[in-house]
Structure formats: C-alpha cells, structure tokens
Amino acid sequence: MSLSIPDFPLPDARGRFGRYGGRYVPETLIPALDELEQAYQVAKKDPEFLKELDYLLRDYVGRPSTLYLAERLTQHAGGAKIYLKREDQNFTGAHKINNCLAQALLARRMGKKKVLAETGAGQHGVASATAAALLGLECVVYMGEEDMRRQALNVFRMRLLGAEVRPVTSGTGTLKDATNEAIRDWVTNVRDTFYILGSVVGPHPYPAMVRDFQSIIGVEVKAQMLEQEGREIPDAIVACVGGGSNAIGIFAPFAYLPPEQRPRLIGTEAAGEGVETGKHAASVAGGRVGVLHGSLMYLMNDDEGQIVPPHSISAGLDYPGIGPEHCYYADSGMAEYVPVTDAQALEAFQLLTRLEGLIPAIESAHAVYHGVKLAGQLKPEQVVVINLSGRGDKDVAEVMRLLEMQRGEGDSRAESVETQTAAPKMQPEVLA
C-alpha cells in the first residue's frame, strides 16, 4: 500500500469549516499562507513527496502503529471490546512526528532553510527538532519559561538535537504565549522561514494540512479494523483534545461518512479541576466563540475578549482553544466533546499501566478514562477504539509528585497508600 493523502469535504475555499477557521492574522503573513497552501496542494499529489513521506513514516517512525486489543482493559470495563490505537509506538513517543516530518519535508521542498515551532510539554518541539535534524534544517523552538522548568529533560533533548530553544516570558509563559512568539518570529522572518505548527489550529491552511498529515491514524484504523474485526468501522472512537490534532487524525476519515454509518466520535477535553471551577481547558464545554492564533474557534475568553489562561494536569491539553474543524463537528453533532478532569485522567493513567503494562501520556489518559466508561455501557459485540496518542514516560515524574501529594493527604486522614494510589471508582476487580 503506497501512501496517499485523502481529500476531505472541508474546509471551503476560504479556509472555513462552517463559520470556524479563517485567517485572522497580520496582513504580512497572508502571502506566505497563500504560498504555503499552493505548495502543499501540489506536494500532496506529488508521487515523489508521498514516496519520501511514506518511507520516513515506515522506516523512521515505525508506522503503521498497531491496533491493539486491550483484553484486560476490556474485561475490566465489562462491555464493548476496547482497542488501543498505539500512536505511543511512534518514534519520539507520540503522534506529533507524523505531522512534523511531513511539514519539514514541505519546508525543504519550498527551499526554506529554517523552521520554527512552538511547544508546550515539549513533544511537538522534540518532534520538530528531530525532523529538522534528519533533514538538515535549522530549528528554533519557542517554549514558555514555566514549561521549560517543568520539562527540563525535553529542553535538553531539543538542544541535543541541535535546536535552539527560546524561552517565552510574555503573557502566562505557557503554550499559547509560545505560539504567539513563534507567530511573531514568523511575521518577522517570513521570507526564509517555515513555521511547523503542531496542532489543527492557526490560520488556514494549517488546520487542514495538519489534519491531512495526521489522518493516517484513522486511515490505518479502518484497514486494521477490517483485518481484525471484519468491518472497517468501530462503534465508537475516543481521543483526547487540546488543539485536537490526534483526535482529528483518527476522526476525520470517519467523520464525513453518512450519519447512519458514522461511528460515535468522542473528544475528551481537559476539565482540569472541573469545568464549574473555571480551572480547566475545556473550550467546547466552557468557552465561547472567539479568535486566537488566526482562527475562529471555541475559546476560553472573558466578556472583554481577553484570553483566559487554561488549566490542565496535562501540558499538551493546556490550550485555551480547540481546532476549527472540531468546532464544526461539535455544532453539527458529527462528534461529541466531553470533559474529563485531572483526577479522572490520573486514575486512568494508573489503570492502564496496571492492567496492560502501558504507561500512557497523561493527555491520552483523558481518552482512556472516557473510553473505559463508554465501553462499560456498550455490548460485548461492539468495539471502542481509544487513540493512545502518546506514551507517558515524560509524565512519570509529575505523576509521582501528584501521587505523593495524595498520599500525604491520605496519611492525614489515616488512609492507606494503596487505596490512594488506585482510585476507588476505577479499581479493577482483578487487583482488589
């Protein structure tokens, strides 16, 4: 099977998914976005480009990632079969590399010598730095000062790979500010620089292009479902959503099916300490329509239009907006978006680790939580696919800190460590 990049019905010619998306950027960037769009449209149909991307995705990244039947998790949930789409198997540990390699190839093809990227937890930064090293491109990564402190190892990793990591102190010093700074750099150096945006956000054509590059996830699921289950379409697909690139990657190949064929598509938003507390990153559940980073989307902003800093246990979901295609799916009912809290994600993180020996990224744990809950409500002949978007090595230290905090609280209430580390609701019978 050779690689092809699917065509999707949206966005329209103006870069809109319904009313969402667009290009709300300084005029300086408009010609560069036009140039990018033209170059991309040619590249995606060019056999040479596709051949090289296919080669790298197979032999460098290790695709296809497997669709793994999680038997013990299935047994625990007590309902539908649970499959995990194992994006955690990819080189560099997450789905991000799918997009980075493709954009870096496009950068080289367009004759750009330097690439820019923003990063939150460092996953997209590391994947961008990796792609840049592989293709011999200069790489600058913008990262919030606060995130650099929390993810010191990823900062070192990027520097080892030859990237320059620039600390961002403006605003809240996190992902949204790193993105602002990357866009400012791009505005200033637009003639010879390529911006590798890491999610399905930003001005057109980024949401469409990143979706296309990530759609290999869903395309593989179709083929693997057919082989393993005798049908292409599962009953439900669950994926975590920050900006939403892993979710779009697995949703899009199913989303435009006729409604009677379409599986339930469920995006799990980071509800932080609870949507009602205001300390969350759930843009659909707790935001309202606005513009950030060039795109009209559901957005956490106050009634004066100022962006409200998001909160999530997961740096990768800690983004105040959600990609425009997701907004369109949400409004049209093509997909559902549900909130999952920090505590629920932490529970699922431990559950998957204990039952399957898979340490998920804390981002992906948000999807695992809801996927398990949903499977429990479905019948054994039904199938739920959870996108395991990344592995959790990067989160182990933070989870250790959080569990020690819980244990501290537990001690003061004279509870045992065991009941604290394995949350009661998700406590599997087999471990009890």
């Binding site: 709300y24 300084p26 005029e27 400012r184 003639r191 950030l292 004066e304």
Partner: protein, 266 residues
C-alpha cells in the same frame, strides 16, 4: 445612535487636509489605554493629544501577536491595572470632554467579537471614537465588521505590508474608509535601528494606485529623523513604541512628540 453620517471618516479626512495645508504629514501618536496606569493614562494621552493630528489608542489585549515586547508589556501592565475593552472606550469618552482631536482605536478582533460587533460599534461611536485600526483582521475575513462600523459612523483602517502582493494591496486599500496603514517593515511593532523607510517607497507607489484615502506609515518610527524619512512619502506618520518607552523611562513624552511633529514637515 443610528448613524447615517460619515462622521468619523469626515473628521479624519479633515485632519489630514489640515496637516497637508500646513505642509506636514499628519502626526499620529499611539498609546496603550490604561498605560502606565489607569490613573496616569489621561495625563499621558493629553500630552500627545494636544500635539497630534490624530491619536491612536490601543485596547490592551492578552495575546497581541502583531506587537513587539514594548506594546506587549504595556498591554500586560494596563490589563493588570484593570483597563480592558470597555474601560478603554470609557477612557476615550473622558478624553473627548477636553479634546476634539480625532481618536482611532487600535484593537485585535477578539475584543470586538466578545463585546458583540454591533454593541462595540455603538459604544465606540457614543464615546466619540472616530475610527478603528484592525491589525489582525484582513478585510476579506469579516465584511460585517466594516459594514457595522460604517453604520455607526466609524472609519475603518486595515494594513498592508512589504510582503503584500498587488492583489492584496488592492483589496485592502479599497476596504479602508479612514486611511490605509502601511507597515514599514516585515515584522511586528517596535523601534529598530536604522532607516524606517525600508521598502516603503515601493509599497506606497502600489498603494496609491488603489487607495482613495490617505496612506500612513508605521512600525519602527521612533524620532524626528525617522519621522522625517517617512513624512517625505506618506500622508501620516504613526509612532507607538517610542512613546511607551519614553513613559516607561520617565522621559518627557511631550518633548518627544514636539520633535517628531516637527520632523513630519514635508
């Protein structure tokens, strides 16, 4: 107020005409609303207003992606002091009681959406705002905004850049009703070393083929000398970060404004 008037457009064009009659490019200083504090802003703004042909007031915004560090920091400080979107409009309303100089508001588009486009225009018009500068809204992204501005008698200004193709310059220039804003450099706001002229002459030549309104130049103008370069080719000169830096450093913004205004002489 349902305006069938062109109040803002007429007042802005009259200001350009007056400056031209005096042999000057219009002097257009910028200040972030609520900077350096809510209490001190009116005083700083008055210093500039009394010397300006047109004054530009920025709504502090949490994520100003077209602005350099100077305006970013000023916005953060103003927001921390409680000046957001509606307070900015209130501050303009106060300035209107003592000054008749045309005032335009510079804002990213999200605050307009958050207030509601029609309500925003109504509030701004009632406060005596004459026009809007929209740095992250290419005119083809939302045609309703310009229509609503017109309904309430507000002029609109969009931007062109050295990267703009002739097609884009045409589209943007034709959408402007107040004046057209040409960004002198490829980049974000802020003072720079060297000439402020850059690719301006070529860009203005293109702009004048399509623009039916005055053309101003901004970004990187910081003193009388850089203003003088720009004044030779432009109808107006916008100066922002330099005034914020002056206020920050406790320098005399009025004296700087006098110098730059003198530099605007053709």
């Amino acid at each position: 107020m349902t305006a069938t008037t062109n109040r803002g457009v007429e007042r802005l064009h009259a200001a350009f005409a007056r400056a031209k009659a005096e042999g000057r490019a219009a002097f257009i200083p910028f200040m972030t609303a609520g900077y350096p504090s809510y209490a001190k802003f009116p005083e700083v703004a008055a210093e500039l207003l009394s010397r300006a042909d047109i004054m530009e007031v920025g709504i502090p915004y949490s994520d100003p992606l077209g602005d350099g560090p100077t305006i970013q920091r000023a916005s953060e400080q103003a927001l921390a002091g409680g000046t957001s979107t509606r307070v900015t409009i209130e501050l303009v309303k106060q300035l209107r009681q003592t000054h008749d100089t045309p005032i335009v508001i510079m804002t990213y588009v999200n605050p307009i959406y958050a207030v509601g486009p029609e309500q925003f225009m109504q509030l701004a018009a009632d406060a005596g705002v004459d026009g809007l500068i929209l740095p992250d809204l290419p005119p083809d992204q939302d045609i309703e905004i310009a229509a609503l501005a017109a309904k309430y008698g507000l002029a609109v200004t969009f931007l062109i850049a050295p990267t703009s193709t002739p097609e884009r310059v045409k589209l943007v220039a034709e959408a402007c009703t107040g004046f057209l804003y040409a960004v002198s450099v490829i980049g974000i706001t802020g003072t720079r070393e060297g000439s402020a002229l850059g690719e301006v002459p070529r860009m203005l030549e293109l702009a004048r083929q399509y623009a039916r309104v005055p053309v101003v130049v901004g970004f990187g103008v910081k003193d009388a000398q850089t203003a003088a370069q720009v004044a030779q080719v432009a109808d107006g000169v916008v100066v922002g970060s330099a005034f914020i830096n002056a206020v920050r450093d406790g320098q005399d913004a009025g004296a700087l404004a006098d110098g730059i205004r003198a530099g605007c002489k053709k």
